[in-house]
């Protein structure tokens, strides 16, 4: 199981700003190890963010997203005390969901 994400959600006026730092290798499948063997691709393919059951962002990622991905976005609505939930799934079928309270 992968390490937890760090999520910060802050209410600003009528919208909520979300910043996420995920912990993932994001291996491209282009790199070779010391023996010259190709390191197989291992990366997050899809990311979904929800707030109160409403999807506020969904994304598909390729291998070019940097290691330990960072993501920032804003959505309208979301009050203090509500929860933002982020889920990712990688190409090995691993998934992780974390949530943060909007402050």
């Amino acid at each position: 199981m992968a390490d937890p994400m760090r999520i910060r959600a802050t209410a600003a006026g009528d919208s909520t700003e979300v910043k996420v730092l995920m912990s993932h290798e994001m291996e491209t499948g282009q790199r070779k190890d010391a023996q010259g063997k190709v390191v197989p691709a291992w990366f997050i393919q899809s990311v979904t963010a929800t707030c109160n059951g409403r999807t506020v962002l969904s994304a598909q990622w390729g291998t070019a997203v940097a290691k330990n991905p960072f993501l920032a976005f804003r959505f309208k609505g979301g009050a203090k005390g509500e929860r933002v939930q982020i889920t990712w799934a990688d190409n090995r079928g691993d998934t992780r969901t974390d949530e943060a309270v909007i402050s």
Partner: protein, 158 residues
């Protein structure tokens, strides 16, 4: 005895069929859900035209309402290049990031439901100095803007 053998054969036959299906890619045990949404053709695209076609973008139109935020002109480390894209086009539905000179151009596609600001930022890898293309879908039409980012140290194979 005989009946048991019959049962075993049936089960065995079933297993073989499943294995064959799995081998041909019909049944993929873990990534079935993710692969549904994941646009393989677009992410495997090796040229701008291929990628645009796989995304259904056709020939996008340049638009100055798409701006880059927090994106450096020169990135010292190609492995971590901050990219922010904001679109002022009404009804922006999705934003995609493409890096022209990466082995696979498409880096990410963000779908923005109504109520989400058309402005996202993330960090990408760049193999070498290249144009970053922001592809925006608004009202079913595709627009783009490009910005060159110079990379002093590549992000792949390094």
């Amino acid at each position: 005895m005989n009946e048991r053998r019959r049962n075993f054969l049936q089960t065995g036959g079933g297993m073989t069929l499943l294995t064959m299906l799995a081998a041909t890619g019909w049944l993929r045990p873990h990534d079935a859900a993710a692969a549904d949404a994941w646009n393989v053709a677009a992410f495997d695209g090796k040229s701008m035209d291929d990628t645009m076609r796989a995304l259904g973008a056709g020939t996008p139109v340049p638009n100055s309402a798409i701006t880059f935020t927090q994106t450096p002109d020169i990135a010292e480390n190609g492995a971590v290049v901050p990219v922010g894209i904001a679109s002022a086009i009404p009804n922006t539905q999705s934003i995609a990031i493409l890096i022209e000179k990466n082995p696979n151009m498409l880096a990410a596609v963000f779908d923005l439901p109504a109520g989400t600001d058309p402005s996202i930022s993330t960090r990408v890898k760049m193999a070498q100095t290249s144009n970053i293309v922001a592809l925006v879908k608004a009202d079913g039409k595709y627009y783009y803007a490009a910005k060159e980012v110079k990379v002093t140290l590549g992000g792949c194979g390094g």
